[in-house]
């Protein structure tokens, strides 16, 4: 199996493999979003205190989860690139950055919009919001550093180092609600202890979170494939495939 996976990391094989995978990912993403959105906006009951405004949760929480997940993927991919010098991991890491930045931005903005009626303020400098804002800066810094260095190979390695250095922020964001007194509520969902949310609210969240994950995979693959095409455009395997690119 390892040999198969290793072969898959060549640009040509990855492009062809992902090309077959992509339509399925897209369809699953679409279905999950349709189901998830209907469930979140229509079926899920209203919250006792927040009434309908709590429905923002169904985009805010998945966006926030994804902002962390994408960063971990980005840093891991960068580390793989630094250690084993695979080209594919470099391309994956670079394309994670803009997607992760969008998720972080959405988490912050939807959080602020939700916070306004719920807490009475758009923003507060507590540990979780501040560390999530730092995450946005880290994504932007990653993209700026990468575009500032002209040599592509050096740029990729420098950005990978930056991504790994910024990894310290991820546990800070995640545990900030436990370690400090924050305005943000503490975690209601954990892998080991289950959920303290009512199932009628928990399941649509789960569907939306899965939809976001598949969405991330779809967009990441689309962007990665484009980068592969662009880099290998003069290679034989591209030049021979006029029809089925």
């Amino acid at each position: 199996m390892w040999k198969y996976l290793l072969k898959l990391t060549s640009f040509k094989n990855f492009y062809q493999f992902s090309g077959k995978l992509l339509p399925w990912l897209g369809v699953i993403t679409f279905i999950l979003f349709v189901v998830g959105l209907y469930w979140s906006l229509v079926i899920a009951p209203i919250d006792y205190q927040q009434k309908d405004s709590y429905r923002i949760l169904y985009v805010h929480v998945p966006a926030a989860w994804m902002s962390l997940f994408v960063y971990i993927v980005m840093a891991t991919s960068g580390a793989i690139h630094l250690i084993w010098k695979t080209k594919l991991s470099e391309v994956i890491a670079n394309n994670c950055a803009p997607i992760g930045a969008v998720f972080t931005f959405l988490a912050l903005v939807t959080g602020a919009i939700w916070g306004q009626p719920t807490w009475g303020t758009w923003w507060v400098w507590d540990a979780r919001l501040t560390s999530e804002l730092i995450l946005l800066f880290l994504y932007i810094g990653y993209m700026s550093l990468h575009s500032a260095i002209e040599d592509r190979a050096s740029a990729a390695r420098a950005a990978a180092i930056l991504a790994i250095v910024g990894l310290v922020n991820i546990p800070i964001i995640h545990y900030s609600v436990d370690w400090w007194f924050t305005l943000h509520q503490s975690a209601s969902i954990s892998v080991s202890k289950g959920s303290s949310m009512h199932p009628s609210m928990y399941w649509p969240l789960f569907v939306m979170a899965t939809a976001f994950k598949f969405y991330f995979a779809t967009v990441l693959l689309m962007r990665t494939r484009n980068d592969i095409l662009e880099r290998d455009q003069n290679a034989n395997w591209v030049q021979e495939q006029e029809k089925s690119l």
């Binding site: 501040t130 700026s144 550093l145 500032a148 420098a158 180092i161 930056l162 922020n169």
Partner: protein, 225 residues
Amino acid sequence: MINNSLHAFTSIVRRDLKLAMRNRSEWTNPLFFFFLACSLFPLGIGPGRDTLELIAPGIIWVTALLAAMLSLESIFRSDFEDGNLEQLMLSPHPFTILVYAKVLVHWLVTGIPLMLLSPLLGLILHMPADGILLLMFSLLLGTPVLSLIGSIGAALTVGLKRGGMLLSLLILPLYIPILIFGTGAVDVGLGGLDASGHFLLMGAILIMALTLAPLAAAAALRVSI
């Protein structure tokens, strides 16, 4: 072999200190900036004693942080430009140790003077005496972290022609935690509570930075050269 590397470490420290002493503006400019920038606040906000006393720890910490950040370029740039850095990288000594040496000198030449000047600024911002002591101690723990984390950013951008702004963009998010704890320690102590928790956390951050930052900086330098 260990003796050799220790000798290399000390000789780099000695050399960089000598260079810094000769180039006087390299270590006096951050101090002037520190003083000037701090002075802008009473001029801009108004000299009201109570307000200044309240925000003094924050002002002093932020301007110290900015002053340290502005001087970060000096860690690697001149050695990068004349090829010395490459020679150090090729030498048989562990590159990380040599990076340590340069970061140590940066702290000695920037961080310590900032810490020593802070009481004066605390005075003109009407801070109470025990607040000033807390401030100095927080800067003592904090400025090495600023130099260490800053060296990573300096290493990442040393090859760029106009990397100054990018350096700030990369470093400031990573500076935020130490800033929060540094000022938090002073505020908590001034409020009559025990600040040792904050100081312990700052110590932990310092230890983490001491062990990990030079590794990252050395790796980044290898990429940039």
